[in-house]
Symmetry: C2
Amino acid sequence: MKLTREQAADNRRRIIETASRLFREHGFDGVGLADLMKAAGFTHGGFYNHFASKEALAAEAASSGLNFSGLKLSDALLDERKTGRSGLTRFVERYLSSDHRDSRESGCTIAALAGDAAREGKEIQKRFAQGIEEELDIFASYLTKGSKGEASSLSAREHSILLLAELVGAIILARAVAQAKPSLSAEILRTSRRDLAKKPSAVSRTSRVRRKRG
Amino acid sequence: MKLTREQAADNRRRIIETASRLFREHGFDGVGLADLMKAAGFTHGGFYNHFASKEALAAEAASSGLNFSGLKLSDALLDERKTGRSGLTRFVERYLSSDHRDSRESGCTIAALAGDAAREGKEIQKRFAQGIEEELDIFASYLTKGSKGEASSLSAREHSILLLAELVGAIILARAVAQAKPSLSAEILRTSRRDLAKKPSAVSRTSRVRRKRG
DNA sequence: TGTACATCAGTGAACGCGCGTTCACTGATGTAC
DNA sequence: TGTACATCAGTGAACGCGCGTTCACTGATGTAC
């Protein structure tokens, strides 16, 4: 039954991606290895051929989700070059949409698992710290030091932190009440979306350049 | 072994308060009924004399935490009357402190369990919605419609939502990296604290009245 | 290039353990008379 | 007010189940000669 190295590596990747989706949907404690391996298409005995423990997989899955999530900012920025709209604004709109709220399994790993990460060990938190730092760097590279109003006194780094906190806070709150009070859930998303759309901090470099050119 | 009605009600309350602390620290899935009852000082067989299921207790514990958490805004506002400082500002400082970050079990239930609530059923989410609405109402009653700058176009309700989202987002992110990267954790808290301290939205009625009088 | 064998990613059964829940039992409280 | 009995919040043992983890086994791959 031995497979080629390539097949084995593919299978390992498949387990991680399946785990990433399931953890985001149900939490680290909400998924068993048997279900997880079954969802990936294997019997669960083979799990330990790939990982030392469930926690080791959780760390890998966290990293994977943080790096390849469909809501990484970089995707939105690619879009943006085509459409001419601010990539950051587009990203905020997508991030705070009801679609993203309703699809934890394919959405932002930070929003889905940051609450759980507080209870996990150093290794998993290290992956979160890396993922957050990367996201902050991307934000910062697209944020200008505002020259007017409140924004002027804040560095791009500070702007990035405030932006991430508001995004994550808003979607977590929206998800926490989505089943029981959809109107409140939608109100939270809408209010935060509008706030971020009009803030000077949501101006991207590209859109400023375009404005000058036009 | 039967107890007085009073004693039984006390015991029930003790179970709920213990559960509230343990759930905040370990999550709904991270605590077993046996450990929970033991922590409350009972054998676990008696659990079902008080609650229909673990989920029923989780709902009660969520409500209890949301209403009586040491970080309810109302506490800070009481302080404020004594000291003359803005109650809301004091509250923000306390909420975004490393002390609060490091004591989930006695801190804000929304911050500790909103991530978990997304995965729970309607009953638990209903309690969260109630708790969030109450907190928003308290915020709103202390927020003025700003007359200058960015704040002017926002209602007290909108301000409250943005404030809550930033508070919850910042402390959840700070907790997610506290073990692995304390510097980033502290930076998130500090940045959000400073942002909220200087925003017009953080001006309380009382402090404005005082300023006029002085 | 062909043969012999070690490797190792799978399978499937089993491990001990803790989970949420149930149940027979206890015995002081609270009630009916 | 005093007695007889139903109530019910406790105890402690047990239920079936799923958990993370281990293990003996399989058999094609990859390697050594």
